[in-house]
């Protein structure tokens, strides 16, 4: 990208292209670079969902959690959700809503999971200022 930018600037200094044209070319290059990570992500589909819980300071003793779940296992598990009896689904839904999560398990699809994976780049949450919870795909 650096080389391309240099070439465009050289062309401007040589008078081969105008400033407006150079601007358009540079914008096109930046747009291309910005869209690259997403295409890479789609090409290299993540295989695992990783959940890490670590104490905020390394020296501090505390609970450490390192869970790696294959994405395909989650997909397979999602299919089971449709077999949960209706009355149980309602109870689970109500419990989730109480916690502020409006999720209907019966309507979850593998496409929803894909969307979640794409949007879940690197989630990091601090719990009570003591532990750090990291959720990401790899």
């Amino acid at each position: 990208m650096k080389e391309e930018r240099k070439k465009i600037l050289e062309m401007v200094s040589n008078g081969k292209i105008s400033v407006e044209e150079a601007e358009r070319l540079l914008t096109a290059i930046y747009d291309e670079v910005e869209s690259e990570p997403q295409t890479d992500f789609r090409k290299n589909k993540p295989k695992y969902l990783r959940v890490l819980v670590e104490p905020k300071s390394e020296s501090k003793k505390g609970e450490r959690v390192n869970v790696r779940v294959p994405i395909n296992l989650i997909r397979a598990g999602l299919k089971w959700a449709s077999f949960i009896p209706n009355h149980s689904q309602k109870k689970v839904g109500d419990a989730l809503r109480e916690k502020g999560l409006d999720v209907d398990l019966s309507t979850l699809t593998p496409e929803d999971l894909d969307e979640l994976i794409i949007n879940l780049n690197d989630l990091q949450v601090e719990v009570d200022g003591e532990d750090i919870v990291k959720v990401y795909c790899e």
Binding site: K47, G62, N66, L73, R75
Partner: protein, 91 residues
Amino acid sequence: MIPMLLKIKIPRKNKQPVNLYLPLFIAWLILLPILILFLPFYLVMLMICMSKGFGRLALLFFPMFFSILWNLRGLKVDVKDEGHVIYLSFI
């Protein structure tokens, strides 16, 4: 692919935990003939379930159960607390 080994850690007091590898492939070798023997009974059960209205669940139970089993490879659970270790890894 189906997991072949299950690695577990057994904690010991004031010592390093013991790594234990359980050969799951032996369990699969034992389970396979049992499943083949069970197949005719499953088909009978399926027909009964179809007539009772549970057909979809009975029909999809085994494929979905095996899809879970097949995708277990790579699952790792590692929880450490003071003096406690829970470690499971499907290899």
